[in-house]
Amino acid sequence: MINLVWLVPFLPLLGFLVNGLGRRFLSKSIVGFVGSSTVLAAFVVSLLIFFQVKTPGFTAQVVSLFDFISVGSLHIPFAFQVDQLSALFLLIITGVGTLIHIYSTSYMHEESNESFARYFAYLNLFVFSMLILVLGANYVMMFIGWEGVGLCSYLLIGFWFKNTSYNNAAKKAFIMNRIGDLGFLIGIFFMIMQFGTVTFPEVFAKAAPLGMNSPVLAAIAIFLFVGATGKSAQIPLYTWLPDAMAGPTPVSALIHAATMVTAGIYMIARSNVIYTLAPCVQTIVAIIGVATALFAATIALKQNDIKKVLAYSTVSQLGYMFLALGVGAYGAAVFHVMTHAFFKALLFLGSGSVIHAMGGEQDIRKMGGLKKYMPATHITFLIGCLAIAGIPGFSGFFSKDEILASAFGVNISYYAFGLLGALMTAFYMFRLYYITFCGQFRGTHEQEHHLHESPAAITIPLIILAVLSVLGGYVGMPEVFGTKNLLAEYLEPIFAPSAPFAVAHHLSHSTEWLLMGLSSALVIVMIFVARSRFVNYQDTGAESTGLGKVLENKWYVDEIYDAVIVKPLYELSRFFRDTIEKSGIDRLVNGVGRGVKWGSQQFRLLQSGNVGFYIFAMVIGMIVLFVIGFLL
């Protein structure tokens, strides 16, 4: 089965080709079927691979397809690596991907035939790129996938390309990603320079003898991390992700919540040897992670666009994953990637269902009381909120708790800020929940009349994801519950090479119970605070003041970036256009033209038609040639 791994990315690619080339003549049902079934088939293959990988004692296998780059001593094969980490990501990507494709068949149904097919073609291409990213057996393959998902993200954010602000959001995402990608690329070049290879096992084998705190590894780690901050929306490159909500909601769910943005976490988890050997970079990762988690959570507190809240929540949750990576809890980060994929995809799809029912309205102040109109969406959304808030028993609890416990072991301030972020998460998620689903309906009469539960193609993925959001956590139950942590055990071979260098932080069981109890109790308190404030929310239309206004405006980060980077760049390019171009380059080019014209006008006069003069000139020329010939 492992040898058939190429099928996994190939099937979505096939779907992309069929839908992309046949977009003018395929009907919607065929497009939807091709789009979903190829990803579903990829999921089935992934499942078979997963069961083979899951058997104890399985070692990583590399399936080489062909030689991709072969220059001098550098060989980069086009190869897929099947191991515990990539198999898990395959399941997440194709599994959540399938559900979102099915959901999209209904959500995007109002599009024209052609753009419906275009949408599915892009989505399939995205799944293909993402699979290349996680399956690649070397950093260059990973980079190919990395760029591919960036492209698809751009195409899908700007899917409704007739809207200028959506196009701007797409461009913003693309450019910010490009900044990060440059870091990743430099990291790869560094790696080639130092190790002469980019294949994972070889790089790690050559990195280990360099020992702790080697500047080379630190440089590689920091450049790779720059790449990760771009793709995974961390400070300072996070501002593209909230704007990326311009894309269709299922796209936000798949690309900007469940899969693509976790590519950075995958990359660092994959490179765990390099990071463990560079503790200073790990500290940076942890600090950026916890800062992002906290910062994005504060912004999410005051957002009124249902998707923006979820977007900032995604940024914040990604921050937690980086915190986990930074404290060396790679398994916990991957665990949170998985649970987050479930509950955040669920929340986004739920918000899509709400937006659909509201006829495109995204402002939660104009919603309210939706629970009696949309029972399935309401229940699943509530489960998603409980999961992300970290209520015991739901998946988010286990993964977030594992991260916080690991952070506590390394540095108590990481834990404190992490916990603060978690409390804010609970607050803003339940603020969102209560404002949207409880209280009185605040929209127009027409919207109220139009309110309806979404069709089965939308609710069934919601229900499946809700079930996963509850059960997904039990694969990674901490050992204090007296069970084995199945996920940690499963992923153990991946992180084994870095284990000898890692500093172990073992918490006593009583401490773990204490931490768990503390966070759960505080989270529940926060939920009740949110309930008391927002269960009967009335839109007073009052402008918020002070800190609230700053939060509502996202700490003015976009404005600061605009003033510090974008405006000066525009000014610089205007200077180049008006001064350097107009009076420098243009003048030079025009001057050459004018000179030639003037010169030829002078030479034209020689052409008098006087034969005697011609002969004279010829003789003079001959004499000159003779003289030159004699002199040289």
Partner: protein
């Protein structure tokens, strides 16, 4: 006779030819001057050929073959050139080359 005499004579003939081409306006005279230049070269070729043959470096007459080539070419050139001059005379009633400063019309 020393070869220098031939060289001086040949240079003199050539210069007369050049000056004639440059200074005269009559097309036929210019034509004759061109012939003069060609024959100055012929004279030089024959003289050098004789010189090298006397020195025993080459066979007598082998270089003089060039002279015949030049004569043949010159004859052909005269045939074409005189025909052109005849046509020019018929059209302009003159063989003054300064009248021929316009090829158009």
């Amino acid at each position: 006779m020393p070869v220098q005499y031939y060289i001086f004579l040949s240079i003199a003939l050539f210069c007369i030819g050049v000056m004639g081409v440059l200074m005269r306006r009559n097309a036929i005279i210019i034509f004759m001057c061109i012939e003069l230049m060609l024959n100055a070269v012929n004279l030089l070729l024959v003289a050098f050929s004789k010189m090298w043959a006397d020195a025993g470096k080459v066979d007598a007459g082998s270089a003089q073959l060039f002279v015949f080539f030049i004569m043949v070419v010159a004859a052909a050139e005269v045939a074409v050139g005189l025909a052109i001059i005849t046509m020019v005379y018929r059209n302009t009633k003159s063989v003054d080359i300064n009248i021929l400063n316009r090829l158009k019309n």
